[in-house]
């Protein structure tokens, strides 16, 4: 997958000892985006027990929506983000209703193949509608940076915004899941759907809400991602999507703090290997991490072992 536009240097590296710190902060910024995407994977996996392969492509759609809102219709940034969220949420729920819901009782193989079909469909529709040539996304906070230590170090504002957004999302989501009625229903469904149904929980509605939240988060992630790497193209979402899934597995799939920790670690690993090993091989290194994690601790850092019912 060609990165059509070269990554702008978000951190200006000046001081010697500051170099590592700068890469680290950029890594955390990238990791925060992964964490937000990973949350979508993790929540859906926790409740619907399926790998929503099309999640990355929802990000792509969100990026196009935000791009057109900003560049073509000159909407303010907040409106563009809200519009992207609205479109992605609708899309997520629609996908779930049309493609996944009829397969609730099917084997995981069937569901996965369907999800891949949906992913492929979205990518190729985007290519047909908007062509495969990348479009330049203008960052929602501009390309300005915060300068620290008498100019020895500078951090792009978008990086700061991304990290803050990620932390806010984590806190709000944790509170939502633990303290609201819908959150309780979600936890119940992830434990045992049949029992939840007997307790009067509307399982279908709960799954729809989960998809809606996950897709809304994907929209936010898309704007943050494209503000950092400013090009929009049809396969934009597949790489971050797969990496975020890696992050979710890394942290322990189904766990919210797991998605956060996994995302951050993955972003840091990716950015440090870009800086110190090789830009071309950074993807290979990230995926090697996935394989090593599965080899050592298949349930991830914060995951729990699930016993199969016999």
């Amino acid at each position: 997958m060609a990165e059509a536009v070269k990554q702008p240097l978000p951190v200006l590296v000046i001081g010697g000892s500051m170099v590592f710190l700068s890469y680290l902060i950029t890594g955390i910024g990238l990791g925060s985006v992964y964490a937000i995407i990973a949350l979508g994977y993790s929540m859906v996996y926790g409740i619907a027990k399926m790998l929503n392969f099309a999640h990355g492509d929802v990000i792509m759609i969100g990026a196009y929506v935000a791009f057109f809102a900003l560049s073509r219709y000159n909407l303010p940034a907040v409106a563009a983000v809200l519009l992207a969220i609205a479109v992605c949420t609708t899309l997520g729920v629609l996908i779930e209703r049309l493609a996944y819901k009829p397969l609730r009782q099917a084997t995981s193989l069937s569901v996965l193949i369907t999800a891949i079909g949906v992913s492929y469909f979205l990518q190729n529709m985007a290519q047909l509608l908007w062509s495969s040539s990348p479009k330049i996304f203008s960052s929602i906070v501009g390309n300005r940076s915060l300068t620290l230590f008498d100019g020895k170090m500078s951090i792009a504002y978008i990086n700061i915004l991304t990290i803050i957004t990620c932390i806010v999302i984590m806190i709000v989501l944790t509170l939502f899941i633990n303290n609201t009625k819908i959150g309780r229903a979600m936890r119940a469904c992830s434990e045992d759907k049949d029992a939840a149904k007997l307790m009067g929980i509307n399982v279908n509605k709960t799954i729809s809400i989960t998809f809606a939240i996950g897709s809304g988060l994907a929209a936010i992630a898309s704007v943050l991602l494209c503000s950092t790497y400013p090009s929009v193209y049809p396969t934009l979402g597949s790489m971050p999507g797969i990496k975020a899934f890696t992050a979710a597995v890394f942290g322990g799939i189904g766990s919210i703090p797991g998605a956060f920790v996994g995302g951050l670690l993955l972003g840091i690993i990716e950015n440090l290997s870009k800086a110190y090993i090789s830009t071309q091989l950074s993807d290979a290194i990230v995926f090697a991490v996935l394989i090593i994690v599965l080899l050592i601790k298949p349930t991830g850092i914060l995951g729990k072992k699930v016993n199969e019912k016999v």
Partner: protein, 358 residues
């Protein structure tokens, strides 16, 4: 009914199903060879024949993994690329010493398959212990790793010996030297030694391997592990080992297909074996029917040749493929459709039963 009669009846039924596949392949070969000999075939179509056999073999390999073993692999293009680049390099190295092209082709296909099988084994170790969707994502990751590694490899030789460098092209070859893999450019100047006949032989070998495997002790274990993991364990089947066996054989066949594919083109870039190729193989398998060998052969050949002949259809092709994937899954899991199928089964059950009672 007597025991020997029962046995014979059973074997007849199994063999009938398999013979059809072999006959289709041989029949297609005879007709196409006749057309080739008499020159009644367009050059465009002629060029499609060898790649088509490669895709059939790769799709059969994937069906062994997805349909028969029940594990979704999204990295079979990666195994093809391993086979392809192994074969291209070896063929380049052996060109001077082994002048018989067919013999060289056979040897490099076997080695390509072996190398690919070895990688299948390595990938299988962490993944096959797990259940669920992990194999899909890890094989996908593996495919990306392989493609990005090959993208960064520079490999060549001259009279001083082999030269190898990574990430940057530091090869310092003499004028008589030859670059075998040139990073993102891939392999170029490959001698095209693949033939349609070898492709057909490879399909037949794949059929023999898959059919005979599935009709033997290990093949039954593979399907048992797919159908019910706990029950398979309870009758003493080592599920991990069994799944590994299917995965390694599948990787070997995909590697062989890749080797044949690589030696059919004078240039070959790593980008040819991306995620899209894996999806394409999956479409062949799903449309042909999971676990259905004859179906895979037919769907792979039709789906490979048709779009190549109808270029104008190109931009819609992928959209149609994705809809095919979704549609087949939705229909085959549809309650109404399933009930009808079950009804059909019971009717057949009752019919054979009443016949035997008479």
């Amino acid at each position: 009914m007597k025991k020997s009669n029962l046995l014979n009846k059973l074997f007849d039924k199994q063999h009938k199903k398999q013979t059809v596949s072999y006959l289709i392949v041989i029949f297609a070969y005879v007709i196409l060879e006749a057309l080739l000999k008499t020159g009644n075939i367009s050059s465009l179509f002629k060029n499609l024949l060898v790649p088509c056999t490669c895709y059939i073999v790769a799709a059969l390999a994937l069906n062994l993994c997805v349909g028969l073993s029940g594990e979704l692999s999204l990295g079979h293009a990666g195994f093809m690329s391993i086979g392809a680049f192994t074969a291209v390099c070896l063929s380049g190295l052996l060109a001077g010493t082994l002048t018989n092209a067919v013999l060289r082709l056979v040897i490099v296909i076997i080695i390509g398959a072996a190398v690919s099988a070895f990688f299948g084994f390595l990938i299988g170790i962490p993944v096959l212990k797990l259940q669920g969707d992990y194999l899909a994502i890890v094989t996908l990751a593996f495919c990306q790793i392989i493609v990005s590694l090959i993208n960064n490899v520079y490999f060549g030789f001259d009279e001083k010996g082999l030269q190898f460098s990574f990430i940057e092209n530091k090869l310092n070859l003499s004028s008589s030297g030859k670059i075998l893999i040139g990073g993102p450019i891939g392999a170029s100047g490959t001698q095209r030694i693949s033939t349609f006949t070898v492709g057909i032989v490879l399909i037949i070998i794949s059929l023999i391997v898959i059919y005979n495997l599935m009709d033997s002790r290990n093949g039954r274990a593979i399907m048992a592990a797919r159908d019910n993991r706990i029950a398979a364990l309870s009758v003493g089947i080592d599920v991990t080992r069994t799944k590994m066996l299917a995965f390694v054989i599948s990787a070997a066949l995909a590697g062989a297909a890749g080797a044949l594919y690589g030696l059919n083109f004078s240039t070959l870039t790593p980008a040819k074996f991306g995620f899209n190729q894996s999806i394409l193989l999956l479409v062949y398998v799903v449309l042909g029917g999971l676990g259905n060998i004859t179906g895979t052969i037919i769907s792979a050949s039709v789906l490979y040749v048709l779009p190549e002949l109808l270029r104008s259809f190109e931009s819609y092709r992928m959209i149609i493929y994705s809809l095919v994937l979704i549609g087949i899954m939705l229909i085959s899991n549809n309650k109404f459709f399933k009930e009808k199928l079950a009804e059909l089964k019971t009717r057949r059950f009752n019919r054979t039963h009443s016949k035997e009672a008479e």
